[in-house]
């Protein structure tokens, strides 16, 4: 260790870092640190020439450890690890100092930012001195897949997997397949029938002998790890007593979908009190029945559609539910074709017509004389019963933004475009498959942009509206992406397990069993015979809870050892 040779590389990140951090000074400082033999700065370390520079230096100077001071390791740790691996070093002989996201981008004072960058770089240098080469392991991959949820996402994933010859199990809580899409009449923007979309898939699923569908069932527990899960499914389907079935699966795709926002939570829309204020799903029912009419059975002369019910508000959900705008336009079309003389007012905040064919659909909806009325994000239309003598049932008062007038909109039927919400049982699902949820309850993807299908738990994928509101094309794309990812893994036959995990030094373990209960993944086993505890590395997720809790210091958190962190503390405080 004392004759280690460290190379320190400072990224200017164009001017992102260099305009705040005094990079030449930092370079000089780094050069003087113990064991540092090369210290260089470069415009973009992550660029090919930047990586080449490191690779060349490793060869030329015989470097055995590398530190890069640049952006967040969340961004480029992987890039540089693979670069030094190319040069023949173990990828773990590397450490990154985050001098962009946590330094140059958040501080204005050059002196202070440079001092901070120095401390962070020194910490990285001191830490890397204690790094050890780590090897990845590989374990077998069970080719079966469990799909939770039989909506459009689940059906699509299952078909893609099964048609590639792999076994799939679909677990559906309800007594039929189809999910939320089965509640829908036509789909925007091409106005084709949801039933047609579904029936075709369901038939194919039913006919495929590689797919086993379990209705009225739910996942009770999931144990094991990627490639080697054991799922316990509770099946009620037609049985007097629920039966629990154990399945061995390699991967799990969570396609549990969404539920609609409860419009009754917003009092001034009078939902539940005014009989002709209905939700979009109630309206879908009308459309499917082929009768658009008021509760009293009259043909409405005025229909008002109110957007963003429960969405994009401070009070309920801040996010956009993404499908309601186009669904509202679809309603306008369907109403106009059912009742040509009907006047449709579309009361919206912004028209989100981002998808393929959406803008055109919006235009076409304008052309059928839908009256678009805009209201403010944090204001809300108020619905009241019309007065005697009015030619309508209800009046909607709203501060219309495009005209700047406070207006009253006549309506006989009001459709509330209820947004999407995470299902009540989503936290249960999240817990059983061990994935995270955001504050709204949506499942969190591994990376929102670069890895939107995987989760932070290996082998668990998410598709469709359980991850966030989306329309059918996006849901299907995600479902098929999940299937493709899984097929790729099945094709490899085995999987690499992350080299960072906890391990018990058997020479120091006293079998006190302090750690046994701590692991959320049950990765710690106790050997009654030897009276020692042991970590199953493939199951371990490297959180380090057991490491810090081991009173004997017998558990080592690989790549996050006490020594490494102590060195880092010494570095940042230098």
């Amino acid at each position: 260790m004392h004759n280690s040779k460290i190379g320190v590389y400072l990224c200017n990140c164009g001017t992102n870092i260099a305009k705040i951090v005094d990079c030449p000074a930092l370079r000089e400082y780094a050069e003087a640190l113990p064991n540092v033999v090369v210290s260089k700065e470069y415009k973009y370390m992550c660029s090919n020439p930047g990586q080449e520079m490191i690779i060349q230096d490793i060869k030329d100077h015989g470097l055995d450890r590398v530190v890069v001071a640049a952006c967040s390791p969340r961004m480029h740790e992987r890039t540089f690890r693979s670069a030094i691996q190319t040069a023949g070093l173990n990828p773990y002989m590397f450490e990154m100092a985050n001098i962009r996201e946590q330094c140059s981008w958040v501080h204005e004072d050059t002196w202070a930012a440079t001092e901070k960058a120095k401390a962070l770089t020194k910490a990285a240098v001191l830490r890397v001195l204690h790094h050890e080469p780590l090897e990845r392991m590989s374990v077998k991959m069970c080719p079966s897949t469990l799909v939770i949820g039989g909506g459009i996402a689940g059906l699509t994933t299952a078909l893609d997997l099964a048609e590639a010859g792999q076994q799939v199990y679909i677990v559906e809580k309800k007594d039929q397949l189809g999910g939320n899409l089965a509640r829908v009449d036509l789909t925007a923007p091409y106005l084709d029938s949801a039933r047609d979309l579904l029936t075709e898939r369901i038939t194919r699923v039913r006919e495929n002998n590689k797919i086993e569908v379990m209705l009225n069932s739910q996942l009770k527990s999931l144990e094991g790890f990627v490639g080697n899960f054991v799922a316990a499914i509770q099946i009620q389907d037609g049985r007097p007593v629920a039966e629990t079935k154990k399945l061995e699966v390699g991967n799990v795709v969570v396609c549990t979908g969404y539920k609609e926002f409860d419009a009754g939570r917003i009092t001034h829309y009078g939902y539940g009190k005014l009989p002709n204020v209905i939700t979009s799903f109630e309206f879908e029912k009308m459309l499917k029945a082929g009768r658009v009419e008021t509760k009293e059975g009259r043909i409405p002369q005025y229909v008002a559609i109110i957007h963003c019910v429960g969405s994009r508000s401070q009070e309920f959900h801040g996010y956009c539910s993404r499908v309601c705008c186009m669904t509202a336009l679809k309603y306008a079309h369907e109403i106009k074709s059912a009742i040509p003389k009907c006047y449709v007012s579309d009361v919206y905040i912004d028209m989100h017509a981002f998808g393929k064919g959406h803008e055109d659909f919006y235009k076409r909806t304008s052309e059928v004389k839908t009256l678009f009325l805009m209201y403010g994000k944090n204001e809300r239309p108020v619905i009241r019963k019309a007065d005697r003598g009015d030619d309508c049932e209800m009046l909607i008062e709203v501060n219309e933004k495009l005209s700047g007038e406070v207006i009253e909109i006549p309506a006989d039927l009001v459709i509330l475009m209820v947004g999407m919400e995470a299902r009540e049982d989503s936290s249960e699902v999240a817990r059983s498959v061990n994935i995270s949820q955001d504050k709204e309850g949506w499942f969190i993807e591994s990376h929102p942009k670069l890895d939107p299908v995987a989760t932070t738990t290996d082998g668990i994928y998410i598709a469709g509206t359980c991850a966030s509101p989306k329309d059918i094309p996006d849901t299907v794309a995600q479902a098929r992406a999940a299937a493709a990812r899984i097929l790729g893994k099945i094709a490899r036959g085995k999987i690499d397990v992350e080299a960072v995990y906890a391990e018990v030094n058997q020479d120091y373990c006293s079998g006190c069993r302090m750690c046994n209960e701590l692991c959320p993944y049950s990765a710690i086993e106790y050997d009654e015979q030897k009276r020692r505890s042991k970590v199953i590395s493939a199951v371990c997720k490297a959180c380090g809870a057991c490491v810090s809790s081991c009173p004997s210091g017998a558990i080592k958190g690989r790549h996050f050892t006490d020594r490494q962190i102590y060195a880092q503390i010494e570095g940042v405080l230098a």
């Binding site: 678009f372 005209s403 207006i407 009253e408």
Partner: protein, 386 residues
């Protein structure tokens, strides 16, 4: 108090010629490209919105449609083909019907057939009356002088009568227009502003300067619509003055009195060239403003063309010594003139007056607003610093 919207208004306006108003999504490009829109009079977007929402009261009181000369740039730029130019045109028609207390205007605009039938009926009646009168007191062989079939003195009286009737209606409608536009709650317009801005009336009437501004920046060839419009308008006005005040001098022949006839010929050329250009334009849809033609536009142009051509013809026939043909043509001419004059306060023709008045009102309003702002600023300045 919230304003009740009327989603049905947009349908009604279609009878007045509007199309695709619903397509507008309020990007505001139309108002941005309009050479006349400014911070006080924002159009066409605001009018489009009021129309979409059916804010009838607001539209009825709006002056903006009159400030538009339909250069068509807005319609050209509209990303959604919502035809703002045509909408402004339709709104003008609708406003004419609103200013008109008789309801005739509305009737005519809503059905060109009704209008045509009225025109034909009045023309036939006028022709019959004129023929009866002519045969009763003169000879078809005599055009002017003693025993003339239609003596100019009598026709002069007849013209003046019809003209006064027209003027009466027009006056009544103009007062209604003033009432709607200028008599607003919360806006006081000092009387002296009406005086001070009165120069605007002849100025706009005789120059149609704003129409020319519509085309600023366009190539010379495109200035034709303004020229045609100006020619038509001035020709018409000149002819009206000549007929109403100097008819005997115009009619009596055979000599040509250049002091009056020069004006007459020029006016005739203006009318003929203007109407032919516009009819041609509307047939060929050569300009944006000619693309959409309401029934009333055709009746207007064809009738005017017929009046002009028959007027010219009877003059030529008389001067070349064909009194019978001249008299018959004259009857035809007058038969066209009568319905023309009578329907003037109810149809497109009235825009000649309304638009000029609108310019005048707009000038007054603009100045009144500027005053209000200036007063507010002064108050602001005088207020002791907090």
């Amino acid at each position: 108090m919230p304003i009740r919207i009327n989603p049905k208004l947009i349908d009604e306006l279609e009878l007045f010629g509007s199309e695709d108003v619903q397509n507008c999504y309020h990007c505001g490009n139309c108002s941005a490209v309009c050479p006349h829109a400014d911070e006080v009079f924002v159009f066409p977007r605001r009018s489009m919105r009021s129309l979409q929402m059916g804010l009838e009261r607001k539209l009825e009181r709006s002056i903006e449609p009159w400030l538009c000369y339909y250069c068509g740039q807005c319609s050209e730029q509209c990303p959604r083909n919502a035809e703002p130019g045509e909408t402004m045109m339709s709104l003008r028609r609708w406003l004419i019907s609103r200013y008109d207390f008789t309801g005739l205007s509305r009737l005519f605009y809503k059905s060109w057939k009704t209008e045509l039938a009225a025109v034909v009926l009045i023309a036939v009646l006028a022709a019959a009356g004129l023929l009866a009168y002519g045969f009763g007191q003169g000879s078809i062989h005599i055009y002017d002088g003693v025993g003339a079939f239609l003596p100019s003195s009598a026709i002069h009286v007849f013209d003046l009568t019809i003209g006064s009737l027209m003027l009466l209606f027009l006056l009544a409608n103009s007062i209604r227009m003033w009432w709607l536009i200028m008599n607003r709650n919360g806006e006081s317009t000092p009387w002296w502003l009406y005086l001070r801005k009165s120069y605007l009336l002849p100025w706009h009437f005789f120059t149609q300067k704003r129409y020319a501004e519509c085309e600023s920046g366009k190539p010379a060839s495109v200035h034709m619509p303004w020229l045609a419009h100006l020619g038509l308008m001035l020709g018409y006005a000149t002819m009206l003055v000549l007929v109403m005040l100097f008819l005997p001098a115009l009619q009596e022949g055979p000599q040509i009195r250049w002091s009056t006839h020069a004006f007459g010929y020029l006016a005739s050329i203006g009318l003929l060239v203007g109407t032919i250009y516009m009819i041609h334009g509307r047939l060929k849809k050569s300009q944006v403003q000619y693309v959409h033609s309401h029934g009333s536009d055709w009746i207007f142009l064809i009738l005017l063309f017929l009046i002009a051509i028959s007027g010219v013809l009877q003059h030529i026939l008389h001067r070349i010594g064909l009194p019978v043909a001249a008299n018959i043509t004259y009857v035809v001419h007058l038969a066209f003139v009568v319905p023309w004059l009578l329907r003037m306060p109810f149809t497109k023709w009235a825009h000649m007056i309304y638009r000029t008045l609108a310019m005048y009102f707009a000038g007054i309003r603009r100045e009144a607003l500027a005053k209000q702002i200036a007063v507010a600023d002064t108050v602001q300045q005088l207020r002791p610093a907090a």
